[in-house]
């Protein structure tokens, strides 16, 4: 022949050779090469290649058929046996499937919740490039972190740092009156922003154009919900909304409503220039205080770390050399869970949940393994026969794994139904809006497939490996003692399962205790019977005196006071130095402006000095007078402040605020007992109070709890009479405080449910094992009865074994639970002492034991009551 030989394409020939029996390779390979070369000579390379591929593909069905024909036959047999077993032992099948479905459903629900939390802000296309600039200020080992930053910061950074391509500030003002014709509401979600916001964030516009919507300073962009609220069915574009009763803005865009998984949910976007009219020019030049959130978008391929340094440099050029504030960047899509400054989500509780889901799933798998090994005796004869007839061990393993896969598949279907049914319940527990539809994402489906394979494999693994290893001669000899194999393994499994249940029960109890502690701890101020009226921007500067005298004329009203912030949530601070400070050392101190009767109304204890009083000029004197020590203004500080200043006797000492070149003096006239003015997760910080009679953002009215409705009605009437233009919106202080610990409350509720489920699954398994044990020992019981054993003796005999396992489970569970809970409690500055709660560990153990005993005794009694005649007559 002598022609040139051409190698066929590599990939298809490689595939071909993988599927062919090795002995045939050279011949078939040669045949393929020969034909390939023939076609190549006649019709060219392309046609030859195509021919090769077509050959390969058209061969696939043949290869498959030949390699699976036998497996298929066996598969049909396995499936038949599986279904037959399932039908014949309905009780066991029910226990298996119920346990597995509940376990899988729990895992699914938990994964749904967790992935929802991780999805936060992911809908913003540029989420990976948008950063919020936070401010950190460390003094005396205490770091103050704020998600707000100075107003001029973001525009300056966009000019001076080349990596910053876009910026937008978001100024947040609450309680803004918004009106369209006769529709008037107060809105909390108005944000004053830079036009760049629509380029940075993904706020899809259903009408209006992203490029021009916010360029005109008199424009406003609203959400669909707001469009309906103010304009009904009319087209909102071009219509006018009036803010603050005087600021007319034209609607230039309508954006889609925000999804449930975002914290940035403005209802109205207004160009930030409009703030000038309210706050003046100073607002835009103030580098000293943190007023609004600043977001910047970085050019592609720049890391936060490198830009952070540049932003810090640029920032330091604008502020005093000893400013001390440090800027940090928070990536938008990590902000919800991983922000160091203010994480809105709680990532550690998500990890706890995931662990719980895993544990419950494990408990369900253990159930399956347990029952399968216990039942293995019944299957041993089948295995023996199969082996004698020629089954290889591999085939048997495949059979048993396959069997558990069938169970897992059935359970998976039930689990999906359960998860669908209970998701609303879960949502109402956590207050989230997790959607079931999330399940149909590719990753999630892959996850479900993963869980399925894991569950099927894990739960089938032990019976598969154990049963397939049995020697047929042993099984088929009549002396084979059924069910004695794997006893130790089964014990370990039950112990693990109950340990899981006990850990969850203990955690639930301790969570409950800590929550109770948080809710009931004496905060140092009165919170019961306090009605708080939120004041309007238009009225909060007005004197409270007329309202106070009107209200106090009624004996049901015990006190009235105004304050800038409530004693439960004081969030403003500044930095001060003090008399006797070395090197003008500065610390941060929280502050609040309060009325004369603030301390009385909230029952805050004065430990030294006096309260504010109209008799002293220094209490009321204006801010600007305080630049000389003689004119100093009076303040009241808390014990913590006095401690940090290092003052033995704080009365008449001065606190000094350095403001540029000016120094302002504040004289301490009183010291109050420390009270908790923020969450109990944090320890108490220094605080100072000023007197102010016209900063009454909140009007707090203390009332007796009898005749509540009438009292509220009376307050409302008085309010309407004195402030007719302001709405009467009120809330109860204790309710707001309760809401503060919502995440703890929902964690506790979740644990209550999940530990209940874990116990349920554990009991299902125990029920199966107990009934199996009773069945296996039925002859023994019969003989014992004949010989005169009483029913209680028999019950004790049967229960003893299981009881011992549960007791052992306690020994393992307690230390694990102890260390896990201790590290959880460390997250709270104020917490219950775990050592004082050890009783709950015992309680959980006793509870688990009691439940286990009831389950087992149920079966034991049944066995003990059976007629000996029935069990012994075939002997």
């Amino acid at each position: 022949m002598g022609e040139k030989f051409h190698r066929p394409p590599r990939l298809p020939s490689w595939i071909l050779f993988r599927f062919l029996p090795e002995a045939e390779n050279p011949f078939i390979g040669g045949d393929f090469d020969e034909i390939y070369n023939g076609i190549r000579e006649r019709q060219g390379k392309r046609a030859a290649c195509r021919w090769y591929w077509v050959q390969l593909i058209s061969w696939i069905p043949l290869i498959l058929f030949h390699s699976f024909r036998w497996s298929l036959t066996m598969f049909k047999n396995y499936l038949k046996i599986t279904l037959r077993n399932l039908r014949r032992q309905k009780g066991y099948a029910f226990i298996n499937i119920a346990g597995l479905s509940v376990g899988i459903a729990c895992a699914l629900l938990i994964i749904l919740v967790v992935q929802f939390e991780f999805k936060y802000e992911s809908h913003h296309e540029n989420a990976g490039r948008i950063y919020r600039i936070n401010v950190e200020h460390t003094q005396l080992e205490r770091t103050f972190r704020s998600t707000y930053s100075p107003v001029p910061l973001a525009p300056a950074m966009s000019e001076e740092v080349p990596e910053v391509t876009h910026f937008s500030r978001m100024a947040e003002l609450r309680q803004i009156p918004v009106a369209h014709e006769d529709r008037k509401f107060y809105e909390d979600n108005v944000r004053f922003v830079d036009p760049g916001i629509l380029e940075m964030f993904t706020f899809p516009l259903v009408s209006g154009s992203k490029e021009t919507a916010l360029t005109d300073p008199n424009s406003i962009v609203i959400t669909e919900d707001m469009a309906v609220k103010y304009f009904g069915r009319e087209d909102p574009l071009g219509k006018t909304l009036v803010l603050f009763n005087s600021m007319s803005l034209k609607v230039t865009g309508v954006m889609k409503n925000h999804p449930g998984y975002t914290n940035i949910r403005p209802d109205f976007l207004v160009p930030i220039e409009k703030v000038r009219a309210i706050a003046g020019d100073d607002f835009f030049q103030n580098w000293l205080s943190q007023q609004l959130a600043s977001y910047v978008m970085l050019a592609e391929g720049h890391s936060a770390a490198e830009v952070e340094a540049k932003i810090q440099d640029a920032f330091e050029r604008h502020v005093r050399a000893d400013d001390g504030r440090v800027l940090t960047l928070d990536q938008l899509n990590r902000m919800h869970l991983f922000s160091d400054t203010e994480a809105t989500g709680n990532v550690s509780s998500l990890y706890i949940l995931l662990a719980v889901g895993g544990l419950i799933l494990l408990a369900a798998c253990i159930n399956f393994m347990n029952l399968a090994t216990a039942r293995s005796a019944k299957r041993a004869k089948e295995v023996g026969m199969r082996k004698v007839v020629g089954a290889a061990r591999r085939q048997l393993i495949r059979q048993f794994i396959g069997e558990s896969m069938v169970y897992a598949a059935i359970s998976m279907v039930f689990a999906l139904v359960l998860a669908y049914a209970f998701l609303p319940v879960l949502n109402s527990l956590t207050g989230q809006a997790v959607e079931f539809g999330d399940i149909f994402q590719t990753q999630f489906l892959a996850g479900i497939a993963g869980i399925y394979l894991l569950v099927g494999f894990l739960s089938g693994s032990y019976p598969a490996l154990f049963l397939s290893a049995v020697q047929p001669t042993k099984i088929l000899r009549s002396t084979f003692e059924a069910g004695t194999q794997g006893v130790l393994f089964r014990k370990i499994l039950v112990v693990v399962q109950f340990a899981i249940s006990i850990i969850l029960i203990v955690s639930t109890l301790i969570f409950g205790r800590q929550l109770n502690f948080l809710l009931n701890k004496n905060l140092g101020f009165a919170k019961d019977g306090i009605v708080v009226i939120r004041n309007d921007r238009t009225t909060f500067r007005r004197d409270l005196q007329p309202l106070r005298s009107e209200l106090l004329s009624d004996p049901r009203i015990l006190g009235v006071t105004g304050s800038l912030m409530l004693p439960s949530s004081i969030g403003m601070y500044n930095t001060v130095t003090w008399e006797g400070a070395t090197d003008n050392q500065e610390i941060s101190i929280m502050h609040n402006r309060v009325d004369y009767d603030f301390l009385d109304t909230f029952e805050i204890e004065l430990v030294a000095g006096r309260n504010f009083s109209p008799e002293f000029l220094g209490d009321t004197s204006a801010f600007s007078d305080a630049s000389v020590p003689e004119n100093s203004r009076s303040i009241i500080i808390n014990e913590e402040a006095a401690r940090q200043f290092g003052w033995e006797d704080p009365i008449n000492k001065n606190v000094i605020q350095v403001y540029g070149a000016e120094r302002y003096y504040y004289k301490v006239v009183g010291v109050i007992r420390d009270f908790h003015f923020s969450s109990l997760r944090q320890s108490i910080q220094p605080l100072k109070l000023f007197l102010s009679t016209d900063d009454n953002r909140y009007v707090s009215v203390k009332i007796g709890m009898e005749g509540l409705t009438a009292t509220l009605e009376f307050i409302k009437e008085a309010w309407k009479q004195i402030f007719p233009e302001a709405p009467f919106e009120y809330f109860f202080l204790d309710q707001v405080l309760e809401r503060r610990y919502q995440s703890e409350a929902s964690l506790k509720r979740l644990f209550t449910y999940f530990s209940g489920l874990a116990v349920f699954i554990g009991c299902l398994g125990l029920l199966g094992l107990a009934s199996y044990a009773a069945e296996r020992r039925s002859k023994e019981i019969g003989i014992r009865k004949v010989l005169g054993a009483s029913c209680p003796q028999l019950v004790i005999l049967l229960s003893k074994e299981f009881t011992r396992w549960v007791v052992v489970a306690n020994v393992f569970a307690w230390p694990v639970a102890y260390f896990a809970l201790r590290s959880w409690l460390r997250g709270y500055a104020y917490r219950i002492s775990l050592n004082a709660q050890l009783g709950f560990f015992i309680l959980a153990g006793v509870l688990a034991l009691a439940i286990a005993l009831i389950t087992v005794a149920f079966q034991a009694v049944k066995a003990a009551l059976s007629e000996p005649v029935k069990t012994l007559k075939y002997e």
Binding site: G29, D31, I35, I63
Partner: protein
């Protein structure tokens, strides 16, 4: 004889092709004959699988030939009819002839 019960039509044709080729019945040659006489393209799998099956059933034997350059230096496998194979073919021919005998419908002629 009930041999024919075990052979498909495809296998029959392949068996016949092997017979015609005598000593040089390789897969490539068998496939060429089939392509030419049936008028459509046979895939390698469609030829190989029946050849293999009939070898296992004992109708065919294999003989390994010399490697050639054209086959990338790989040896060729020749198929030869066994006694059983010959008998099967004879049986098929007899059945065929018997059945066709006396059929003279012009509609069946090309």
């Amino acid at each position: 004889m009930t041999i024919t019960n075990y052979l498909t039509r495809k296998e029959e044709l392949i068996l016949l092709a092997v017979h015609k080729l005598g000593d040089s019945a390789s897969l490539v040659k068998v496939r060429e004959i089939l392509n030419v006489s049936t008028g459509h393209e046979w895939t390698v799998g469609n030829v190989y699988v029946p050849l293999d099956r009939m070898t296992k059933l004992g109708y065919l034997e294999t003989r390994v030939g010399e490697p050639t350059a054209r086959r990338g230096g790989k040896a060729v496998k020749y198929y030869v009819l066994t006694r059983l194979g010959n008998e099967a073919l004879a049986e098929l021919k007899r059945v065929h002839d018997t059945m066709w005998n006396g059929v003279s419908d012009p509609a069946l002629e090309k």
